[in-house]
Symmetry: C2
DNA sequence: TTCACACCTTGAAGCTACTATAGGGTCAAG
DNA sequence: CTTGACCCTATAGTAGCTTCAAGGTGTGAA
């Protein structure tokens, strides 16, 4: 099959497939005489694996880790479990961060219930007077 | 004051200040004869406002919106309230997404409790066989 | 044959919000 | 006169793509 069909199987665009190839997540495809990339079912499997990982918000780095571990099918899968545990920890950390953020925003929002003049708005006052604390390193890659 | 001091007041780096100037969040600074940027207390206020918004994970776009609204101090602050409400909705949406993600990851993690061979690992089986659903547009800018 | 049209190719630029690096200029103290 | 702290610009890199530009390929119809 050609790139369009593969992309469809992987629920992504052709550009994304080329991008994965460039980044080494997918191996370089064989080519037809016209220089078209050609794929088989092994590529479909690998692409779907990658897309599933992406759907779970794993980074390319994490996915690469899993793919590397899969290269030794007989070895122990402790590394896989560890990688997933770390990823779950990232998600947890981000949820915690966002919950704190939401509390802060809710507090700010309470400072202006009615429509009033911009220069008396409690929200803007709050934003102007907050004490910015130096941003610490993010606990997760999840934005 | 010069850029180093301003950056310190805003809990950010000098590069970040220059970046904000380039992006139009901060007005172009006056210069000394030696071409050094010079700032006063109004700049400090504006930078702190921006940094506080960033600490709340607002985008530059959202911050620009607030700054624009502040340019008309006498006008009604309904726009400010709306902007904040939308931002809170972004945070909420992201929390919901991440909670769903966490459930999915927990289900996946259960598929392999003990260390076994990689090619029999339930996690990798799960990742290979999941049905990727076409990724819908993100409900928030929060990664 | 020639045309349209769908499909494929590459490379480069754009997105967010910075961070880092290179290669230089300014200025006060020792 | 040199050291060191501070400042300047411009460029490239980060993640994970998306979009654009400018073209080549292949098939069916007029």
């Amino acid at each position: 099959m050609r790139i369009g069909e593969l992309a469809q199987m992987g629920q992504c665009t052709e550009q994304t497939v080329r991008y994965y190839e460039k980044k080494g997540l997918l191996p370089a495809a064989a080519r037809t005489e016209a220089n078209y990339r050609i794929y088989d079912s092994a590529h479909v499997e690998r692409l779907r694996f990658i897309r599933n990982c992406r759907a779970l918000d794993m980074t390319h780095e994490e996915i690469r880790g899993l793919l590397d571990l899969m290269e030794q099918p007989a070895s122990d899968c402790g590394g896989v479990n560890g990688l997933l545990d770390e990823h779950i920890a990232h998600v947890d950390a981000r949820i915690t961060e966002l919950a704190a953020l939401k509390r802060q925003l809710a507090g700010l929002r309470e400072r202006c219930q009615s429509n009033q003049a911009v220069n008396e708005c409690g929200i803007l006052e709050g934003l102007a007077s907050m004490e910015t604390e130096p941003r610490r390193a993010p606990q997760s890659h999840l934005g």
